[in-house]
């Protein structure tokens, strides 16, 4: 595999000036007020059931640990395709998300299913490596069968004001994903500071070609929150207004129960509308959420909560 450093030919950096001109303001209290109103929505009966199923279909079942093994990844892939025996009509999760060296294993397991293989890349989670290494890692993951790449932005460069670098890096990784993989760009919002930074990083990622923007690696606290996600959804909305193009959203980390996940979904519905209520445009990055959703679904069906011993912990 060859490493080609072709970003100098892209001359994308200049576009960044335009982004800074358009820098949109975010009001912290306004964002938090809106979120508090969204969390007061009440979901009952049919709407709740429909919402829970939608959440399941949008989950990126994730294992990103130093101690990951082939067996562990295979177990997770099995779970992804066999959520619960008592619900044959349940949707599968959207994807299984793994480290690059596990892509082959996951890909082999999932090749006949609709579940996508997603791989983190670009020196996840810190992103502190050379561009060459990041490109190499991305190429390898795509070559081995990753259909989605979850890259991290260079937060250090972002904080030192090198927005062009951040922009170019995303653009190059996107180019290396080609038409084989969709690119999710992780902003790691827990390291960005205030909402204005999150908004700016969202715009840079979107304009550099992200198919999805994603809040967090899950390794830093705070990970995804409702207000942060709202700021990012509004950036997506403005991009849609300006270009007609849709960009996906993936909050990740810290979303472990159905109630919270439903609030995210209501936020998507009321901010971006019907088009985004689809796994092609909205995902949850979570590992333990699926079991809670299953428990709630079973409760809706039987009227009882079951012990969590009845739900497989993979």
């Amino acid at each position: 595999m060859n490493i080609t450093l072709n970003y100098e030919s892209l001359s994308l950096g200049r576009k960044i000036l335009m982004i800074l001109d358009l820098k949109t303001k975010v009001d912290k209290l306004g964002i938090e007020d809106r979120v508090s109103r969204i969390t007061k929505r009440s979901l009952k009966s049919e709407a709740k059931l429909q919402g829970l199923k939608m959440i399941l279909s949008m989950i990126d079942l994730t294992t990103l640990e130093g101690m990951d093994t082939d067996k562990r990844v295979e177990q997770l892939c099995y779970k992804a395709t066999h959520l619960h025996q008592e619900f044959p009509d349940l949707p599968n999760v959207a994807a299984v998300c793994v480290y690059p060296n596990m892509v082959k294993t996951a890909s082999n397991f999932l090749k006949d299913s609709e579940v996508k293989v997603a791989s983190v890349a670009t020196a996840f989670p810190s992103g502190n490596s050379s561009l060459e290494v990041k490109i190499q890692e991305t190429k390898e993951a795509v070559f081995n069968g990753a259909e989605e790449i979850d890259m991290v932005i260079s937060r250090g460069k972002f904080h030192s004001g090198e927005y062009n670098y951040v922009f170019d890096e995303i653009a190059i990784i996107k180019e290396n994903c080609g038409d084989k993989a969709r690119l999710k760009v992780i902003l790691e919002t827990g390291e960005l500071g205030d909402y204005d930074h999150i908004r700016l990083a969202s715009e840079i990622a979107i304009k550099a070609g992200a198919d999805f923007i994603k809040t967090s690696t899950g390794k830093i606290k705070p990970a995804a929150t409702l207000p942060i996600t709202l700021v990012m959804l509004e950036a997506i909305k403005d991009h849609y207004y300006n270009t007609g193009k849709m960009v996906g959203m993936k909050p990740a980390g810290g979303i472990s129960n159905s109630k919270l996940a439903l609030q995210y979904l209501i936020m998507v519905k009321e901010t971006l509308g019907n088009l985004w209520l689809d796994k092609h445009w909205f995902r949850f990055g979570a590992s333990s959420l699926a079991n809670d959703v299953l428990m709630q679904l079973l409760k809706q069906k039987t009227g009882f909560y079951q012990s969590n011993n009845y739900f497989s912990k993979d």
């Binding site: 949109t24 303001k25 975010v26 009001d27 007061k40 979901l43 019907n274 088009l275």
Partner: protein
Amino acid sequence: MSSKIKSLNYNGKWDFSSSIESIENLSILKEYQLFINGKFQKPVDKKYFPSINPTNEQQLTRIAKAESKDVDLAVNSARAAFNGQWGKISGKERAKYIYRIARIIQEKSKELAIVETLDGGKPIRESRDIDIPLAAAHFFYYAGWSDKLKYAFPNKTPKPLGVVGQIIPWNFPLMMAAWKIAPALATGNTVVLKPAESTSVTALLLAEIIKEAELPPGVVNIITGDGSTGNLLVNHSDVNKIAFTGSTEVGKSIMESISGTNKRSTMELGGKAANIIFEDAPLDQAVEGVINGIFFNQGHVCCAGSRLFIQESVYDVVLRKLKDRMQSLLVGNPLDKNTDIGAVNSKQQLSTIHKYIDIGVKEGADIFQLNCELPKSGYWCPPTLFTNVSQSHRIAKEEIFGPVLAVQTFRTTQEVINKANNTPYGLSAGVWTDKGSKAFNLAAKLKAGVIWANTYNKFDPTSPFGGYKESGHGREGGLHGLSPYLNLE
């Protein structure tokens, strides 16, 4: 921004199922009496009028109508209480009663919220999260002042006025009662309060609470009736002050009636507030503020942001966001926890709103309304906005008191200050900008009693509220809300 890009679509794919607040354990009496001298009393002439649920036009209950003799009884009992025990006890003792009222309101908040929604048509979300908590907060806040009046007015000897007559509107029934009664009690006055004809029930529940709190008889009297009852109270010779919240038209006639007497007055009247969006504003939050500014409580808000001014460079994008956000609002049964826009309070108010919408269309403004199905019975008006409006349009000049927004544009700061001040009203205004200096500049130059910066329709008992020009005089809330109830020698 391209106009070819499709509007976002919010409904039809995943809609909320109904989530109705239960009214099973609610007990609303068939008939409510006058509350005079600590007792519920039938009116001398035995006349009653119906209270209508605006969502189905059915009678909810019937309410006693106070005539001349009843008003006499109420004022006399207030006078007797003022000359009696209430006038003698210390501020600290008064505070105990007021705190007690506040706590009982909190305990009964759910019931009060449901009744407020049934009687007035406002969404349960608002009565539960705004009206009732703020009513309790007002009592708590003024209870704290009762024994500190000397510190509030150094080198003065604050003395109560005596008997105050208070007349309140139908848009925030319990909250307005709290705004009136709490400072009057804290300052040692006694009260005769008349709620609005169409929304008397929560005021009478408050009377029950006052009874439960064992406030001495006659300190608070609540008499119900229409404008004629209010008129009797205003013209009663033994009333020392009139505090009125309502329309500018009625406010003017009250001022005429009491001129030449030594009655004091506080008037909180109409408004036609400017909500101003600058190009450097946080636009999504500004749009949310516009929605809260005009569609909160179906626009039945004296300080509603009914005139929107958008700087021309961001006009297209703001309008697009505003229209999309309007499409995600839910209109319908106010007892549904997800309802954003409830019923218009009365048939009469609905016809006023319709009259103005017709005027707007006839004047040539462009109308945009939320495309939604409205319930078959009851009084409903979908959120409405008009564009291509100028200062001389009647919909931009006159108070509509409904969910109707008139949108105009501006180019410079000076221009928008001129336009915003070009109105006989001056109750409130909103400014949306990321630049602090701009917000403070406008706050100084806009002739309105309340200026919100990067927010709208936020209320707090510690903050004074009241108007300039034909929006009234006197302040309610905060330290400023004490002096209208005191003689400061």
